[in-house]
Subunit: 208 residues, 2 copies
DNA sequence: TTGACACGCATAGGACTCCTATTTATCGTT
DNA sequence: AACGATAAATAGGAGTCCTATGCGTGTCAA
């Protein structure tokens, strides 16, 4: 039993809580956890294909197909042929879906409060540690491509002297701090492999 | 979008990965994630009641009852009346169950490796941050009682001068370091509320 | 002791998740 | 035109997960 096991245990416990919370919302929203995930993704990131959704929520394509069918029955999403590929279909969130997602607290208050209770310094380290782990998982092919700052074309780590806001985002052309580092940014654009390596090295070595 | 949201996002992503991994094992082991969780719990912590299992894996009692029935069909567990309560039943893992659990890697390698890639200092902070969050969730009643050092009768934080092994466990009567702090200890004994507060205060204030 | 109530568990019923395997259309290519 | 590859749906089946409810016991007070 090493530290890694204990860390994994903790992550699993929180994961369990998150899933249980998602189910507890089901009665109020009429959406299962899987359906809610799909809906949130469609509302926040725009139309997507079934297979892309499947990868996003880490299930097989037929499972995603099931959930999509359930959401269509409920009138939350519509399907239109993808003009770029006759085999594919694009799923669109309806107005009702946008409304439902807006009403829905994405993260349980208890978790946000638990995170807020940590020292700011701890929050920084925690966020960075999560990024590193997610990147490690990604490099090992364990999870699909993510949309975090560290792999984004627009990200320039430690470009500024200001210790509070050392990073720069070329997309919004603004400086920002560790606390605003994103793990799932809507404006993420995947950088090429070489750039990623360079950015990552710069980002991590300065993290001490 | 504050840091807390980003942290929650990261935790959720890892939770998703853990669940997907648990499913991917299903074909080899013949156990669904829920069944595997129950079995691991029974093997590691000994006989338990249905309702206790339900709380442990964060599902309702009928759901636990379902999974228990599935495990009984598969011959992994047996049910005996609880001598202490005629209404209750104790579930016992069979020899086959112990064997199956021993074969089963509880945590995905990729996750352990991802944790191992972090600096030791980062691992410490991460583990402590997870503990704090789990304790915060517990205090808010969001998750059931946990079995971490911080709430254990046997735990004496920062009793030793040795910076590498400042804590003491009265159960094994030995000093240990942050890296060995447990989130789910088999020998955990819940301390009373006052002791917990005191222990916790001592544990957290010295964490800077 | 005898209700009245609380509790532990099982069942019923229903929607959905989740898998593998397969089918149906397209796509790209040769 | 014919090939294999890909996007999605379908088929089939076990299991998850919920709420509501039924059944038998534990508990405690009248």
């Amino acid at each position: 039993m090493a530290t890694h096991d204990h860390i994994a245990t903790g992550l699993a416990k929180i994961g369990l809580f998150l899933r249980a919370h998602a189910w507890s919302r089901a009665e109020a929203t009429g959406l299962t956890p899987t359906q809610a995930q799909i809906l949130v993704h469609l509302v926040r990131r725009g139309p997507a294909r079934v297979s892309a959704l499947a990868a996003e929520i880490a299930v097989t394509q037929p499972t995603a197909s099931d959930s999509v069918a359930a959401l269509m029955r409920k009138g939350y999403i519509g399907k239109r042929p993808d003009p770029e590929d006759g085999r594919a279909a694009k799923l669109h969130a309806s107005a009702a879906a946008r409304h439902a997602v807006a009403e829905m607290a994405v993260w349980p208050d208890a978790l946000l409060e638990a995170a807020a209770d940590l020292d700011p310094a701890e929050q920084d380290v925690l966020l960075k540690a999560l990024m590193k782990m997610i990147r490690a998982l990604q490099l090992r092919g364990a999870i699909p491509v993510q949309r975090m700052c560290a792999t984004c074309q627009h990200f320039r780590p430690y470009q500024h002297a200001d210790a509070a806001k050392p990073h720069h985002c070329a997309f919004v052309d603004a400086a920002f701090g560790n606390a605003a580092l994103r793990l799932d940014c809507g404006d993420h654009v995947e950088a090429d492999a070489a750039t990623q390596r360079e950015t990552w090295a710069c980002f991590t070595q300065a993290s001490a």
